[in-house]
Amino acid sequence: MNNPGPTLSDFGHDPLWITIIKAVAIFVFLMLGVLFGVWTERKLISRMQHRYGPNRAGKFGLLQSVADGLKMGLKEDIMPRTVDKVIYLLAPVIIAVPAFLAFSVVPFGPMVWMFGHRTPLQLTDLPVAVLLVLATASIGVYGIVLAGWGSRSPYAVLGGLRSAAQVVSYEIAMGLSFVAVFLNAGTLSTSEIVAKQAGGGTWDILGLHIPTPSWYVFSLIPSFLIYAVCMLGETNRVPFDLPEGEGELVGGFHTEYSSSLKFAMFMLAEYVNVFTVSAMAITLFFGGWRAPWPISLWDGANTGWWPLLWFFAKLVIAFGFFVWVRASLPRVRYDQLMAFGWKVLIPLNLVWILLAATFKALRLPETDRMGIMAFGAVVIIVAFVVWLRFDTVNQRRREARAAQVEEEFEQLREEPAAGGFPVPALDLPHYHGAVPAARVPTDAKEVTSGSN
């Protein structure tokens, strides 16, 4: 097949100056990415909402983010009197640095010649590379918590706690959704995971050799779907942008970082995190820098500097997905968010991991297939029985809860002042409640809300 790309043994041979060049390149790429990412997002979302979006600064408003950045730098730097100064100043740094670090293990391309050196288009790779990404994500949570904690204001503290709880919850589902990939790739090294997606096997059925697609997104679609949800939760993006739910928490954990470059750090970290999770999605599920199918028929597609283009295109599409979601979905409620993460994503994930492992075990050479199937059947039946009981109980509890709410509602309908709250009657005309017929003027015309 075509060039499988670098493996772990190709790393660690760069001279220091090549390393520095690569690191600076990644840094610049991310900074520019954020500047133009913000512009892209605003432009795209405006178009989706039948607006023009920024179009004053530069051609097509391209320089809008640059102008915003400059403006932030020139704003007054407000530090509220009550904050815990050390933590308050440290938090933006703690949140920004790990965001960049995750990109050091993202594979951008295969081996290339760079100033007379043969080197992979990737800063470095580790035997535990994906773990590094998860670790940096976890350290980022410290930034959020400390920002809220150090601000010492109720909104910030609550926002920080909420955000931390949300991020760690979705981190679990995210971490679990990687397991199936490792199961199939047999490694945690990002470059090798990309290499494993170089070519699919063939599926022999009825004497036909049907080539199976090589990207894990096809073979491990449940993992990817879970990951796609988790990456929204993990980066605090719509529809999971509870931490900064303006309606309830003002700015969430960065309420007190009102302007200036400190706020810019949070903004930067958020967008870099979006790029990171997108890059991980591409690396783990979409073949990394490998060209998509029609292009991959061309022999040179996966050699030289071309893959950089494919990677970039995939990144833009992934980012577009984020924007699309933002334009389409409303924000979820916090209890729904946590319930979804803990009660849906995690059990689904575990079940899927075991299924994937069972399929994998069935394909291993020299295994007792009947034994595995019998074992699997037993596990599934037992799990199903337990689930039935569990679900019945939960259902019963939900019904009890609904009945209680209903009863409370009935009680309030009977006597609106029950519980001691002075409330207006439920049948006031502007509540669109049932208006006693006697009080409706004969020539009245109902004016529905929302009409002019």
């Binding site: 047999g186 337990v386 009981r389 569990f390 109980v393």
Partner: protein
């Protein structure tokens, strides 16, 4: 890939007693999750008792079938003569403690409610109950089974945690005197976590020294690895700290009175018996098997610790005015007496004598202490159990049977002949004398005499002083509590009058010593 990884062989039959207990604990959690509230207690109690009895039967069956000469589960767990004997002891003591727990008056309805708050009131009205007590207890017992059988330091650490964590929780569940109970739980947790950290750090250092966490391999390395003595000594000392803490040996005894006092009394009984047995088993295994070649170095330390423990336990007990604290200090002093036996090593025959003496002592002391705490649960006044010694004045006149039984237990603690405590002390001290630790035995005898003073003082108080007008009432014992007191008294008498069968059993269990 570089070849398949061999699946480890695990002797499930050997580990069956432990697996039964852990399995029942997990089933207990499922019961908590799925059974309706009114059924839980009714399911838990038979489940817990049956699993403990079943595990005991399996341990006996194993012992009858012949004791294996090799560690099980790839060298991680050693199911040998002493381990089986200790398992049997722990299982019986746990069974007895469960009978005591059955009386749910001891446990709080809603542990998370602030003491004195409206939520607590409500939990009382709703008759809420933490039936989690049973699975927690089973997990703790499972840890106690694994701890003395762990043949490798990491397994020992896991066992230590599995044993301790449920106990930390159980300590905080007393129904009365909530604040004291919570304080006990937090103290036990903090100090216990600290000592676990010592144990873990010691494990790491010994691993650095020997390149293995396996006890036998560490012992092997004692002769061959040179030049890293610092690692070895600090590591061994830290392991010692972790283990001595669980025993409650001085100078790591500070937690014991507070925790014993604050915990629900049935849990105190379990800790005073089961945990002590398990911790001594583990101490013996680690120091005899893992650091056996180092005994010239640790012996003087244990010498000092044993003397200090006996003296601190016996003298501080005199000053106590609270019955549970007094029993706690008595437990510390008994830990000191047991430590005397740990030092009495030497030839194989000498080791066997010391080990069998210790095993006998643990059984005798375990039963007596469970019985004593069972009596404590029955003496109550308006605020719950009456702990202050002055409240016990004249108890002998109001309920002679109970006071008599308690007096008998106290005499057994003191080691008066015709009680089990006498033969326990005799066996251990005799082994120590023949092991050349005569000064230690003299200290032990003096400490016993001091201890006898405060035991007798309580007896005098109960029988020869006038009862207070508003003195505590002795509640009619539930069947479980009555059974516990009966069993404990019977064991104390039988082992005191007719100790030979158990001595023989302990001897034959100790015959093969610990497997390596």
């Amino acid at each position: 890939m570089n070849g398949t990884i061999e699946a480890p062989t695990i002797e499930y039959a050997l580990l069956a007693p432990m697996l039964v207990v852990f399995g029942a604990a997990i089933v207990g959690v499922l019961v908590e999750a799925f059974a309706p509230r009114y059924l839980r207690s009714a399911i838990h109690l038979p489940l817990t008792l049956l699993s403990l009895a079943g595990a005991f039967a399996l341990a006996v069956w194993q012992a009858l079938k012949g004791v294996p000469t090799k560690p099980a589960a790839m060298g991680a767990v050693a199911v040998d003569g002493p381990a089986l004997f200790i398992w049997g002891t722990i299982l019986v003591l746990a069974f007895v403690s469960v009978l005591l727990i059955k009386d749910e008056e001891h446990f709080v309805g809603s542990a998370a409610a602030l003491p004195g708050s409206a939520e607590e009131e409500q939990s009382l009205v709703e008759r809420a109950a933490h039936t989690e007590v049973y699975p927690l207890l089973l997990f703790a017992v499972g840890g106690m089974l694994l701890f003395p059988a762990a043949n490798d330091l990491l397994v020992a650490f896991v066992a230590l945690e599995v044993m301790s964590l449920p106990l930390y929780l159980l300590c905080g569940l007393a129904r009365r005197r909530r604040l004291l109970s919570q304080e006990a739980a937090v103290k036990y947790f903090l100090l216990g976590a600290f000592s676990s950290a010592f144990f873990l750090y010691g494990t790491a250092l010994l691993y650095g020294y020997a390149g293995s966490v396996d006890l036998a391999k560490i012992n092997l390395a004692l002769g061959s690895v040179g030049g890293q003595d610092t690692l070895l000594y600090i590591g061994a000392a830290m392991l010692g700290v972790g283990l001595l803490f669980k025993i409650g040996a001085a100078p790591f005894q500070a937690w014991k009175p507070d925790v014993y006092q604050g915990s629900p009394t049935p849990i105190t009984a379990l800790m005073a018996s089961g945990t002590l047995v398990a911790a001594f088993g583990a101490l013996l295994r680690v120091f005899w098997v893992g650091l056996g070649g180092l005994d010239w170095d640790w012996r003087p330390v244990f010498y000092g610790v044993a003397i200090l423990t006996m003296v601190v336990g016996a003298i501080l007990a005199i000053t106590q005015t609270d019955i549970k604290r007094m029993l706690a200090y008595s437990s510390i002093a008994h830990g000191g007496f047991l430590l005397v036996g740990v030092i009495a090593t030497g030839s194989a025959a000498q080791n066997t004598a010391a080990l069998s003496g210790l095993l006998f002592y643990l059984v005798a002391y375990g039963f007596t202490t469970v019985g004593a705490f069972a009596v404590v649960t029955m003496v109550r006044d308006a605020g719950g159990e009456a702990w202050h010694l002055s409240r016990w004045a004249g108890l002998g006149k109001r309920s002679p049977l109970l006071a008599g039984t308690f007096a008998f237990f106290l005499l057994a603690f003191a080691g008066i002949p015709l009680t089990s405590g006498f033969f326990g002390k005799y066996a251990v001290f005799q082994a120590a004398v023949s092991g050349g630790a005569l000064p230690l035995v003299i200290v032990g005898v003096v400490a016993s005499a001091v201890a006898a003073f405060f035991y007798v003082r309580v007896i005098v108080l109960m029988f020869f002083s006038d009862p207070a007008a508003d003195g505590p009432s002795v509640v009619l014992p539930s069947r479980g509590t009555a059974a516990v007191v009966g069993i404990a008294a019977l064991a104390t008498v039988v082992l005191g009058v007719f100790p030979q069968p158990l001595l023989d059993l302990a001897h034959s269990a100790a015959q093969s010593l610990f497997v390596r």
